[in-house]
């Protein structure tokens, strides 16, 4: 495999030939996520809860087996067979470094990553290392393993030092590996949490740029060659103040989730007060703040995340897939590099899903139902008594603030995430752990085999659409 370089608006191989990177994200492996893996809350809290309820050894056994089965050479082979040439590989620092022993690295984590590199090299797939859950949290969401929506990275020098330290390790260990495409410095950074206006455009560009520049400089001392992938503020939606000038070998990475690829509405058709069709899909990409920045600075664009959310709307899958088909077609016309979210999950976005009849899915059914009814903070609010009560609380507080003339309003999206994820989801980890309490290691091993590719169910419509744009 040849070394890749960003040159002007293209990615070139060492011999100077343009290459288009296209493939999957492997969410849920070295960064476990609530809706992907089927637990609730944040991974690090789950590990603590499991250790407390199951005992340290059995908890460790559970997580080790989950890692063993979730991603194997079979997965890489299946990606290669349909023409993928890149894998974006999200990781959580906790698989490589412990909070109680900073700067000491965990060989078990690197062993798994070594395997992934070897499998990918064997099947001609490049790896983009994606730092998805950073020390001190780079954003308030579950996918950065943040349990309590509190962002510390940008203010805490010691978390930044550890962030740099782990990237240095990665560069030292994989900087010479033929399968490495480059380093995605930080997934979906978010410098600001607000209590009154989640979407306010008040970003701390100085802080974000300083963290990016610091880590890039450290990587460059070890690895002068591989591509730096960089993402904008507000979960990779805002790029206006982003510094991309500090390195020549740099790709702008954006995320491109759209209304047309989630939920139950027909496509083409009206969604969120806009008639969605291929023109709008093209405009969403073209006018994306990251696209404009990349164009201005003549940098390649890698859409590191986009995808279809079909959970809860099985009948609407043809519409979602049609929207995805248009989106991928737009990427094709623009020569955009992409990695779709995500390869495998329980039943929400993956091209492969766990078998609904598998023992694991049946075991977590009560927790999933409880999450749906009480603690589903994303997009779709829970519909029952908890949702009504949440609305009642938000209304009552807003009424008070309006009557008292206090000039503030609840940001309901933030309020929902704070309550339902920050508290309730962590709470539901207790029954999740309890459901495994009486299982032997043999049983746990068998249950987790549900994550093996051969035991998963292919989402054919979705998979075939992705495949179509890989040929």
């Amino acid at each position: 495999m040849e070394l890749l370089k960003a040159h002007n608006r293209q990615i070139l191989t060492a011999s100077g030939t343009p290459i288009r990177l296209r493939g999957y994200n492997i969410g849920g492996w070295l960064n476990m996520e609530d809706f992907i893996n089927g637990f609730v809350g944040a991974e690090h809290n789950l590990r603590a809860t499991m250790a407390r309820i199951l005992g340290k050894e059995k908890a460790q056994f559970f997580f080790d087996r989950l890692l063993d089965y979730f991603f194997t050479e079979d997965d890489v082979k299946a990606m290669a067979e349909i023409g993928c040439n890149v894998l974006r590989l999200p990781f959580n620092y906790r698989h490589f470094e412990r909070d109680d022993r900073p700067f000491e690295y965990i060989e078990d984590g690197f062993k798994r990553l070594d395997l992934a590199f070897d499998w990918c090299a064997k099947h001609d797939i490049y790896i983009i290392l994606d730092f998805h859950a950073v020390q001190g949290w780079q954003n308030p969401d579950w996918h950065s393993d943040n349990a309590h929506v509190h962002i510390m990275l940008y203010h805490h020098k010691l978390f930044q030092d550890r962030f740099v330290g782990l990237w240095e390790q990665m560069a030292r260990r994989y900087g010479k590996h033929p399968a490495l495409a480059g380093y995605d410095l930080m997934n979906e950074p978010s410098t600001r949490v607000r209590y009154e206006d989640y979407d306010s455009p008040d970003y701390d560009w100085a802080a974000l740029n300083a963290v990016h520049r610091g880590v890039a400089a450290a990587i460059r001392k070890i690895d002068p060659d591989h591509i730096i992938f960089i993402e904008g503020d507000n979960f990779s939606c805002e790029y206006d103040g982003l510094d991309v000038t500090f390195d020549d070998n740099l790709v702008v990475s954006t995320h491109n989730y759209m209304s047309s690829t989630g939920g139950g509405k027909p496509y083409p058709g009206e969604i969120d007060d806009l008639y969605w069709n291929r023109d709008i899909v093209a405009a969403e990409l073209g006018m994306h703040s990251g696209t404009r920045l990349a164009f201005k600075h003549r940098k390649p664009i890698f859409v590191g995340e986009f995808g279809v959310w079909y959970a809860g709307y099985p009948d609407a899958l043809p519409y979602r897939v049609a929207a995805l088909d248009d989106q991928l077609g737009v990427f094709d016309s623009a020569g955009i590099h992409w990695a779709i979210w995500t390869w495998k999950d329980i039943a929400s976005m993956g091209s492969f899903n766990l078998d609904p009849e598998s023992e694991y899915v049946r075991l977590i059914q009560p927790i999933q139902r409880a999450k749906k009814e009480a603690a589903d903070w994303e997009g779709e609010m829970p519909k029952g008594a908890v949702a009504r009560a949440m609305k009642g609380t938000a209304d009552a507080i807003d009424d008070y603030l309006t009557e008292a003339g206090l000039g503030a309003q609840i940001d309901r999206r933030w309020f929902a995430q704070y309550t339902l994820f920050g508290y309730l989801a962590q709470f539901l980890q207790v029954p999740f752990a309890s459901s495994l309490q009486n299982k032997s290691e043999t049983e746990i091993d068998r249950i987790l085999q549900a994550f093996q590719l051969k035991n998963c169910v292919k989402n054919t419509a979705l998979f075939d659409t992705v495949k179509k744009h890989l040929c």
Partner: protein
């Protein structure tokens, strides 16, 4: 002043004469607190919110003015006049070390602290330096400056390194200073927070003991003399696994908040569905895990925090103060040291001195205080539509999750919602109050916190003076 040290279960001067420490806590100065200072939420979030909304100049005027007026030599003179001989001084590490520049120390913070110790020395008061808000948070509450109930200190080596280094720096600066009684290593440590039912069997004693031993070792590198004050887990209520073997100059510190000083009801009489009288007060103190632990290990005891709710209707307050009197008599009879919480506050809870309710500052923030009562006071039921809606929400959650037979922990949930979310929402409205004020005007408003402008609660003052004033006995 003479250096203090521990001898057996007593605190003694150099000549071996026992001393009884009696005095105040100074909450709200170097560790600002929601209901002490009258803003909603956590100090470090308020600093960000103020800077963002009112601008950095106004934010600086606000916090500097606050520190300048909240505590002056006149406050120390007042404490001395009442007869106290000790001040427990809570501090937040953020006044001494920024997160952005760990291990670099802020001279402004140390200048204030050194001045406070000098004032106390001049008026014959010892100072206990109390680490109330540690790096990485050592408990989930507002008073540790924790906004979202996170506790990271015990699992994060880096926060521990900073915490330990700050104690070494403090000890280096105060080593040899006889006006310092000693170092209270952590206020109300908590090694875990509970999302479900409280499980008293699950404490991380290794985590807590390790942090204490590291801090003590760092202090002893530069200061062999000062006393170490140690508190137990779960907000200083559990002591069974505490290690006190690593130093021979240790005072056991415990907190003794009780229903009789905090809840409604006649005293003596039924308070919170239980009969409370002096016997019950004594029993509660003697059965305290900390009291028993100190006895087993032959250590002196400091009741570092206790106090009565006084900002309630006067007839009720008399009951609460009567219970507090019985507490003090219990401590006196048991020969333990005590510091009451707290010297001064905004006037919504338990300050001995309170802001004048007619002061311009208090009137300015009144709408925010009212909103806080309506939906952001996690310690009370708020009988407002917004307050009741939180109860409905908890009911709805328990109803929806009934199959798990695991009701949510309501106290924690209320705190998570009403403090973590609602109070920080109200910080926005608090900051708006100062948005159009000149820095000089902000400073003038904050003069309401000077002792000259504050009001005392006379019967509390009488009570404290009676027991603090030196008598002719050996323990004078």
């Amino acid at each position: 002043m003479e250096f203090l040290k521990v001898k057996g279960d007593q605190i003694v001067k150099q000549d071996g004469h026992p001393v009884r420490l009696r005095g105040f806590n100074l909450g709200g100065w170097l560790n600002m607190e929601d209901f002490v200072n009258g803003f909603p939420g956590a100090e470090h979030i308020l600093r960000e919110t103020m800077a963002r909304i009112a601008g950095t100049d106004r934010a600086r005027a606000f916090f500097d003015g606050w520190l300048a007026h909240f505590f002056t030599e006149a406050d120390v003179a007042q404490m001395a006049a009442l007869g106290s001989n000790v001040l427990r001084l809570p501090f937040n590490y953020r006044h001494f070390e920024p997160d952005e520049r760990p291990f670099e120390y802020l001279e402004d913070g140390f200048r204030r602290l050194e001045q406070a110790v000098d004032w106390c020395a001049r008026h014959g008061l010892y100072v206990i330096l109390d680490c109330h808000a540690a790096q990485g948070w050592h408990n989930p509450d507002w008073h540790a400056d924790s906004a979202h109930m996170q506790v990271l200190l015990f699992t994060h080596r880096h926060f521990q390194d900073r915490y330990v280094a700050l104690w070494r720096e403090i000890a280096r600066r105060f080593a040899g200073n006889p006006a310092v009684a000693g170092y209270a290593l952590l206020n109300e440590p908590v090694t875990r927070i509970e999302y479900e039912r409280y499980d008293p069997s699950y404490f991380d004693w290794d985590g807590l003991n390790n942090v204490y031993q590291r801090a003590a070792a760092a202090i002893r590198e530069v200061d062999r003399e000062h006393i170490l004050f140690l508190e137990g887990d779960n907000f200083s209520s559990e002591y069974a696994g505490l290690d006190v073997s690593f130093d021979d100059n240790i005072v056991l510190s415990l907190h003794n908040y009780i229903e009789a000083t905090d809840c409604d009801g006649e005293y003596p009489g039924i308070v919170d569905n239980e009969y409370w009288n002096k016997e019950r007060v004594e029993q509660r103190f003697h059965e305290h895990s900390g009291t028993q632990f100190a006895q087993q290990h032959g250590l002196p005891v400091l009741v570092g925090e206790f106090g009565a709710l006084t900002d309630i209707p006067e007839a009720q307050a008399a009951n609460r103060i009567a219970a507090m009197r019985d507490q003090i008599e219990t401590y006196e009879a048991a020969g333990v040291h005590w510091t009451v919480w707290t010297f001064k506050d905004i006037g919504i809870r338990r300050g001995v001195f309170r802001l004048n309710p007619e002061s311009e500052y208090r009137r300015l923030i009144e709408p925010v205080l009212q909103a806080r009562r309506a939906f952001a006071d996690w310690n009370h039921e708020s009988d407002t539509p917004a307050g009741r809606s939180i109860v409905h929400l908890m009911d709805a959650i328990d109803e929806t999750l009934f199959e798990f037979d695991l009701p949510i922990e309501r106290g924690r949930f209320k705190q998570y919602m009403m403090f973590g979310h609602n109070a920080h929402l109200l910080q926005v409205t608090f900051a708006h109050l100062f948005r159009n004020k000149f820095p000089t005007e902000i400073d003038r408003l904050l003069q309401a916190f000077t002792i000259q402008e504050c009001r005392a609660y006379p019967s509390v003052l009488d009570l404290l003076e009676k027991y603090m004033k030196p008598t002719t006995g050996a323990l004078a």
